[in-house]
């Protein structure tokens, strides 16, 4: 009972640990974070390992590949309707995605599809998150490990270790993406 009362008095918080550095993993984290922030929740995003890719100034490293990604739907955003309906990830053998340029083509198609569906570019979305007060923290250990410099990252983020992340984030909720 006491614990329940304690939970009720905590401010509404939401936190995500982002470990993946591809475009299709970056979008959900920023979409959920911006929505939660708009609903007055205290939002904390913690970027570790490849997740650091999501907060680099140069976002060209954020790509998407159907290789070893069987869940991905690969549909052409251009062309006649019958062509757009084909899910190439189901039709073609996985070997095709190892060909040079496959990832570039998939990334181009993914970005185009996202814009067609009314999403905003990832850079704009993360700026919106910062504007809405989402706190972003880069894992200091991962920054050193990957050999990044502090100036490689977008403005408005902080650097800290895992202990400081757990010290300031909710005891009750932590979603791992």
């Amino acid at each position: 009972m006491e614990k329940l009362a304690e939970i009720k008095h905590l401010p509404d918080q939401f936190s995500v640990i982002q470990t993946k550095g591809t475009l299709d993993w970056a979008y959900p984290a920023f979409i959920l974070a911006s929505t939660a922030a708009a609903m007055d929740k205290e939002v904390e995003l913690y970027f570790t390992f490849y997740g650091l890719n999501c907060i680099l100034k140069d976002s060209s490293g954020l790509k998407v590949s159907p290789l070893a990604n069987p869940g991905m739907v690969v549909k052409s955003p251009v062309g006649p309707e019958w062509l757009q309906e084909i899910d190439w990830n189901r039709k073609l053998p996985g070997l095709v995605w190892t060909l040079p340029g496959a990832s570039m083509l998939a990334t181009w198609g993914f970005k185009k599809r996202m814009l067609l569906e009314g999403q905003v570019p990832i850079e704009e979305l993360r700026d919106l998150c910062l504007e809405l007060g989402v706190k972003m923290t880069a894992c200091q250990m991962s920054v050193d490990l990957m050999g990044y410099k502090p100036e490689d990252f977008i403005d408005g983020i902080s650097f800290a270790g895992a202990a400081s992340y757990f010290a300031q984030t909710p005891k009750t909720q932590s979603l791992f993406i």
Binding site: I31, S34, T35, A38, G118, L128
Partner: protein, 98 residues
């Protein structure tokens, strides 16, 4: 006679003022063509930029999820809402409860 004219003028100015105030208090948020979470974020931003208690927000959206999302957001933020139109695009009227 002169007083009457002055009175009429004042009435006219007053009603014109009222119309202007009403127009200024109505805020149209166009989120047509934008998907989740943009309609909610634009509504939130507009709420922050227009803190007047009498503001009326008209939000237009083509996002299908908005039909559930906008009411959910309003309930959570203690706002009053009314669905004005569903086709061809969703229009919600949103205002602050007093």
């Amino acid at each position: 006679m002169k007083d009457n004219i002055v009175y009429l003028c004042l009435c006219y100015i007053n009603s014109a003022y009222q119309v202007i105030v009403e127009v200024l208090l109505d805020i149209l948020i166009d989120t047509k063509g934008l998907a989740c979470p943009m309609p909610i974020i634009k509504l939130k931003k507009s709420l922050a930029e227009n803190p007047e208690l009498d503001n009326l927000f008209y939000i237009e959206s083509t996002d299908k999820g908005g039909l559930q999302d906008i009411p959910a957001f309003c309930q959570q933020q203690c706002l009053v809402y009314e669905l004005l139109e569903e086709q061809p695009c969703i229009i919600f009227k949103v205002w602050r409860s007093t």
